[in-house]
């Protein structure tokens, strides 16, 4: 069975400071991992994905994430937060090896960016 745990339900940072959103995964097979962002009353947008290539993954809008198998983590970071980054962020896993392509979402982390 696959699952993801987002360790913080809310994160608040000041504009211009670093962002860290934490995610741990549990998977029986080699997982594919994703971060999606959801702005209020909007759909889900893919930020970045890990699919067993480079462990450091760069995404859109300056976000990146590092896959650490020893720690079963896939934390999302950004060097400098912008007001427009305020949104809900979901860590997501799928197990392509099992043929199950449905995504399993974490419970989400709401990022607030203070001026």
């Amino acid at each position: 069975a696959q699952s993801v745990t987002q360790l913080d339900s809310h994160v608040s940072v000041s504009e211009g400071t670093p962002v860290l959103l934490r995610c741990n995964y549990s998977s029986s097979y080699s997982p594919s991992l994703f971060w999606y962002v959801q702005h209020p009353n909007k759909g889900l947008q893919l930020l970045l994905k890990y699919t067993s290539a480079a462990t450091l993954v760069k995404g859109i809008n300056g976000f990146e994430a590092e896959f650490k198998k020893s720690e079963t983590s896939f934390h999302l970071t950004k060097p400098s937060a912008h007001m427009s980054d305020a949104a809900e962020y979901f860590c997501v896993v799928s197990e392509m090896d099992t043929g199950r392509r449905a995504l399993t979402f974490g419970s989400g982390t709401r990022l607030q960016v203070q001026p």
Binding site: G43, K49, M96, T104
Partner: protein
């Protein structure tokens, strides 16, 4: 670039009524997924179709059914609606033969059951 299209964007129904949600995947995408996101919740997988056949099933109630048509669009049919069915319903599509699980999401249909 073309995106996933969902219709309607908003839908209001009474209890015990039926509703049909439609999803038009990105051209040349062969797989469609349906997810339900309740208020303040994370999206939950309902069902998926690959090449017009059901490929996976999640937490979809028996009152719901879905299918994928020859043009790859999909419809989610919901009967005997309950208050708890009020949610945002997302459709996503992927090109399974070549992708690595990247799913592209539509804007969602917000269903309100009164």
């Amino acid at each position: 670039a073309a995106g996933v299209i969902q219709s309607p964007r908003h839908l209001i129904k009474e209890k015990r009524e039926t509703a049909t949600l439609k999803c038009y995947p990105i051209p040349r995408h062969d797989t469609v997924y349906w997810y339900q996101q309740g208020p303040g919740q994370d999206p939950q997988f309902l069902i998926s179709f690959y090449e017009k056949m059901q490929s996976d099933k999640g937490s979809i109630p028996d009152r719901f059914s879905a299918q994928q048509f020859s043009d790859y669009h999909s419809e989610l049919n919901m009967s005997s609606l309950e208050l708890g069915d009020s949610a945002l319903y997302f459709c996503a599509s992927s090109q399974t033969r070549t992708s690595v699980d990247e799913q592209f999401f539509g804007p969602g249909t917000r269903l309100t059951v009164l």
